[in-house]
């Protein structure tokens, strides 16, 4: 997952009652949760709908790159782990759609927005999983970055989102570990396996850093989201935290992140990294990543081919209800 939605603006819907706004803000400042039927500014509602649904879409689209290896996992243990993990992503999408639904939008509408290209999902899932090592790298780096983002969201001011995130974080705790275990196995394996592992790190490193979104200086909406406690840390703070954790993990298994400028700064205790190529990020965001079209095509196909199944279940349920009603008369 990735919460790019944190960085997008929602236009205010017009003037709102100043007193209600003040009371709302005071409640948030007291660390009280906002619940579905509480009064909330329209921009808060829209920001959350956008962010939560984007988060949900990311979980669902995120099933595809890893699902790509479900039928080719190298042994039965890995196959079971990957199946459970990809299934978890589906569950997380489900929890998040349900959280967004409490804000007055249906799942059908959210899915439409995704399939019609009106809603985004995390750009990271537009990268291909070419070798088995990518499954390790995705778990280790992509889930690792996601966890950095998600843990603060457990304290998000919106109750249903915070509760969904608590459940998700609990369930995800094995995701990063299984990925790191898988890539470690490669790093200590044959020359071909080592090559595969380093290649995966080379390809996933920078996109993982981009998952935290633009630099704070280019992220103008951070202020309001922080004030509303939808967001608790800035993009750069979280990115630094991630790099500080991931670099020693790479070194521990003999891998090297693809950044010649990477160096440890004794004074601050942080790993300093090179410039991120935001033009690549923007290209992927604009739909020109390696797999944007494949991912959307796969989602559209599943949705279209599932239509008759969903209709059949509804038709049968209605008929069953009618029969029961007739029998009761």
């Amino acid at each position: 997952m990735y919460t790019q939605g944190l960085n997008q603006a929602v236009e205010d819907g017009g003037p709102e009652d100043a007193e209600l706004l003040a009371r709302f803000q005071a409640k948030i400042d007291r660390e009280e949760k906002i619940e579905p039927n509480d009064w909330m500014p329209e921009a808060y509602r829209q920001t959350l709908i956008r962010q939560i649904s984007q988060h949900a879409h990311s979980e669902i689209v995120g099933m595809l790159p890893e699902g790509n290896w479900l039928t080719r996992a190298p042994n039965l243990r890995r196959k079971a782990i990957l199946l459970a993990k990809v299934q978890d992503e589906g569950g997380h999408g489900l929890y998040l759609y349900a959280a967004a639904e409490t804000l007055g939008i249906s799942r059908a509408e959210m899915v439409d927005r995704l399939l019609e290209g009106r809603a985004r999902y995390s750009s990271i899932f537009n990268y291909p999983t070419i070798t088995w090592a990518d499954i390790g790298a995705v778990g280790w780096l992509v889930d690792g970055a996601a966890i950095m983002n998600q843990i603060p969201l457990c304290r998000c001011s919106y109750g249903p989102y915070a509760r969904a995130m608590i459940r998700i974080c609990k369930e995800e705790s094995f995701h990063q570990r299984q990925g790191y275990e898988a890539i470690s196995r490669l790093a200590e394996g044959t020359a071909a396996q080592k090559r595969m592992a380093q290649d995966a790190l080379d390809r996933w490193w920078w996109p993982s850093l981009m998952m935290f979104g633009p630099s704070d200086t280019d992220s103008p909406h951070t202020g309001r989201s922080m004030r509303w406690k939808i967001k608790r840390f800035t993009n750069d703070e979280l990115r630094q935290k991630f790099v500080d954790a991931a670099v020693p993990q790479a070194h521990l298994i003999g891998l090297e992140p693809p950044d010649p400028e990477l160096r440890y700064d004794e004074e601050s205790g942080h790993w300093r990294f090179g410039e991120i190529d935001w033009s690549e990020f923007n290209e992927v965001l604009a739909g020109n990543g390696p797999c944007n079209r494949e991912r959307m095509a796969a989602r559209r196909k599943a949705h279209a081919e599932g239509a008759w199944v969903r209709e059949a279940a509804t038709a049968h349920a209605l008929r069953k209800q009618a029969r029961a009603a007739a029998a009761a008369e």
């Binding site: 039927n37 009064w39 929890y95 349900a98 799942r107 509408e109 369930e171 969903r310 509804t314 349920a317």
Partner: protein
Amino acid sequence: MRSGSRRGRPRRPNSARRAKRVSDSDRRGENERDWPLFEVFIRARTGLHHRHCGSLHAADPEMALARARDVYTRRGEGTSIWVVASEHIFASDPADKDMLFEPAMSKIYRHPSFYDLPDDVENM
């Protein structure tokens, strides 16, 4: 727990405040494109209450129960499941919070700590 009101069931039709929330009923038509929404309650262990743990969509209650098992007990979280169609939940309005819950706050004599007893009294 999520309130049922967002499913477009006004609880207090006389309320002016309620009348403003037309958007809920506007959304009702599109909600029907999804299978109905169900709330899921799970008993983690015998002896505990069923507790709300989330929701899901299903075509009928039987399907809702099975999918609740598939979605919400993947890690052995449950020994019993209830599902309730979300539209059947009739909930209090947050705006009524003061009216409903404030009056109880002043009745401190309902709590055992209110009473002043000799320190050496036993079995009480």
